[in-house]
């Protein structure tokens, strides 16, 4: 038996809307099997993983903290992926943005006042954008594969951060711990509702970015240009759109958003720089972007789901005693199922016997196509 794909005459609106949900359901089923194999009651596991982390208000705040960077990065990545540009180095842009944004609170802690935070955020965005401009430059100038260069720069950024916090930026009064000074209060991202939990302004940034990018992509000429160049570079060239400019635009926009996510994370959730500032947000955001169907508004929902997998992983570790790596497994499976379900949008799937399909069923298909 083998699978056979039959092209649909037009994309299926039904599966276009349903595929993320089918994918999520399949992930839950596969997860249940995985837990059963580990000898854990799937229902208990499901409750621990997906329900228990969001039963109390402070937990919703934690979810917002985890979802904010994912949404911010994924919204930027959606612009890249729409334009067929593969920026997979968002993790590096996140780290570099965090570093550049932290220059003020680490090196000039005496600078205080209401202007400090906006300055930090701006510097973080610039840092991320500049770092993302490197693969864009290499691609447009030297025709270099942006997947590999942007990914290599992730390792470089992480090592650079590691050097900073162990070397020149280490807190002299920090008992030799590899970390910088604690940011002073005017460099800390304010919390939204300090009475009920820790969620900070970063989540608002994420929502605003999602709406702005949605407007950009669906209501503005620039967004149209990106979509045209992404689906057919040749048609885009005939329309007079510049491919190279678009590469820079997509990379630097996503880099700026990743950088903003980085500095927001450091100034909000962590409060200082340390060797590791991200549990792989830049990579998980790739999943968020696809689960959200590359639509900024869908990405907000997808970001919350993936944020939940992080919290679920922590809960699974503390309650069920299994490795929190299970979160990464869930995330990976989810992306697989999303991509698989997306096939249903363009194709009908048929199971065919081993023998070559008889010629007979060619005629009804013709009618369908017409």
């Amino acid at each position: 038996m083998r699978l056979e794909l039959v092209k649909r005459p037009q994309r299926s609106m039904l599966f276009s809307a349903l595929s993320p949900f089918i994918a999520f359901a399949l992930t839950v089923v596969a997860g249940a099997i995985l837990f059963a194999l580990l000898g854990i009651n799937p229902l208990t596991a499901f409750y621990t993983y997906f329900i228990s982390p969001i039963t109390e208000v402070w937990q919703l705040h934690e979810l917002a903290i985890k979802a904010a960077p994912l949404i911010l990065i994924a919204v930027g990545l959606s612009v890249c992926f729409r334009s067929n540009i593969w920026n997979i180095g968002a993790e590096g842009q996140f780290v570099f943005g965090a570093i550049v944004g932290s220059v003020v609170p680490v090196l000039y802690p005496e600078m205080q006042g209401p202007f400090v935070l906006p300055l930090m955020l701006l510097m973080g965005m610039v840092g991320g954008a500049v770092y993302a401009a490197i693969p864009a430059f290499l691609k447009t100038r030297f025709n270099t594969n942006e997947i590999l260069t942007s990914l290599m720069l992730v390792y470089v950024a992480q090592l650079f951060l590691d050097w900073l916090v162990r070397g020149p930026w280490r807190d002299p009064k920090g008992f030799n711990f590899p970390q910088t000074v604690q940011f002073n209060p005017s460099a800390v991202l304010p919390e939204l509702m300090p009475m009920s939990g820790r969620a900070n302004l970063g989540f608002v940034f994420a929502l605003v970015a999602a709406v702005l990018v949605w407007i950009l992509m669906s209501r503005m000429l620039k967004g149209f240009e990106i979509r045209v160049l992404g689906s057919s570079p040749r048609a885009g060239r005939f329309a007079g759109f510049s491919f190279n400019r678009m590469v820079f635009f997509a990379f630097m926009l996503s880099g700026a958003l990743a950088g903003l996510a980085g500095i927001s994370e450091v100034s909000g959730a962590i409060g200082q720089l340390q060797p590791s500032i991200s549990p792989g947000y830049g990579f998980t955001a790739i999943i968020v972007a696809f689960l959200g169907r590359l639509n900024p508004l869908g990405i907000v929902a997808a970001g919350l789901v993936l944020g939940l997998t992080y919290l679920g992983g922590e809960a699974a570790q503390s309650v069920l005693g299994i490795s929190d790596k299970v979160a990464r497994v869930f995330q990976g499976m989810l992306l697989f199922f999303v991509l698989g379900c997306d096939t249903l949008i363009h194709y009908r799937i048929r199971l065919v016997g081993l023998a070559p399909a008889p010629k007979l069923d060619a005629s009804p298909k013709l009618e369908e196509a017409n």
Binding site: R2, L3, L5, K7, W86, I88, L138, F142, N143, T144, N145, I147, L148, T149, L151, M152, L153, Y155, V156, L159, F160, D162, W163, R166, G167, F283, T284, I286, I287, F290, I322, S323, K325, V326, A327, R328, V329, F330, Q331, G332, M333, L335, F336, L339, G340, D342, T343, Y347, I349, A357, A362
Partner: protein
């Protein structure tokens, strides 16, 4: 002299996993499929190799497990991209993400345990020869497999009919299909060969290079292997050269760290990654040459229309 020999030996050990993973991916890409999941398949091979070796006490079983797990894991990618025609870039990425997660989960119990190491070859008299003895007759078994793979793949691709067919599929799957070649079947086999190689490369890390399990122990080597394929312009012998250059860079920075060169270790550690970028820039600069060498249907989904 002994110093030189030992440095050459460590370079060979560092180059071998890059070489094997890259040679496997080269075959995959020659068939027109871009599998970005090398890192994930490699790390799965590493954890499977370590685990099987540790549990059975035999590194040879570990070696087989690494290969089998690598191939099975790549099957997941094959079903998605070949049977379901999903986007190859995104699917490859998800294979890497899943592999890193799954290996981390499977390996939680292995952290810090001493592993089994594959014994080096020893042939009386030959291995004891001065200088060349150790280099030619005293290395680990996977080293010899890697060299055999390079020449075997080179012969297969350019001297056999099947190899020619595989390359033709990579250059134009529609024409190949029109000629009655079973494009999807060839690609399945190519992808699984690549998976087996990546698994073996991972097994080398956990059974020879550092016989232990460390999370994410591939440290980007799968991605460097992908870059090596581009560097080689899809030619096996150039992969051999590229892998040894990278092995030298990798070992060079380790030695520099050990000698206490007054440069922060983090900068030295980032050298292999920066070198990858530099090499990619140099090799891709000539747009026409790159276009000529790249398999023309690389990365494009193929759905046979009957």
């Amino acid at each position: 002299m002994d110093m030189t020999v030992s440095i050459l030996l460590t370079i060979a050990t560092a180059a071998t996993p890059l070489l094997i993973a890259a040679i496997g991916e080269l075959v995959v890409e020659r068939s027109g499929v871009l599998n970005l999941g090398v890192e994930g398949m490699m790390v799965m091979g590493a954890v499977a190799g370590f685990g099987a070796g540790f549990l059975t006490g035999s590194p040879w079983i570990g070696l087989v497990a690494a290969i089998v797990v690598g191939a099975l894991f790549s099957l997941l990618f094959a079903v998605m991209t070949l049977s379901l025609a999903t986007n190859q870039v995104a699917t490859g990425l998800s294979l890497t993400l899943l592999g890193l997660g799954l290996s981390g989960m499977m390996g939680t119990g292995f952290v810090g345990l001493p592993g089994e190491r594959l014994p080096n070859l020893y042939i009386p008299v030959l291995t004891d020869l001065p200088v060349v003895g150790k280099l030619l007759f005293g290395q680990d078994p996977i080293f010899y497999i890697s060299i055999a793979l390079v020449f075997g793949v080179s012969w297969f691709l350019f001297k056999t009919r099947t190899g020619l067919t595989l390359r033709s599929i990579g250059d134009s799957h529609t024409s190949a299909h029109a000629l009655g070649i079973q494009v999807i079947k060839y690609r399945y086999l190519a992808v699984m060969f690549g998976g087996a190689c990546a698994g073996l490369a991972g097994g080398h890390l956990s059974l020879v290079y550092t016989p232990q399990w460390v999370e994410n122990m591939t440290a980007g080597r799968g991605w460097i292997a992908l870059a090596l394929v581009v560097f080689s312009s899809w030619r096996p012998l150039r992969v051999l050269a590229g892998a040894y250059i990278f092995g030298a860079v990798w070992i060079g920075q380790l030695h520099a760290q050990a000698f206490g060169i007054p440069v922060p270790s983090q900068f030295l550690s980032s050298l292999p990654y920066l070198a990858t970028i530099v090499v990619l820039v140099i090799i891709s600069r000539n747009k026409r040459l790159t276009m000529m060498n790249t398999p023309a249907s690389l990365g494009q989904a193929f759905v046979p229309d009957r």
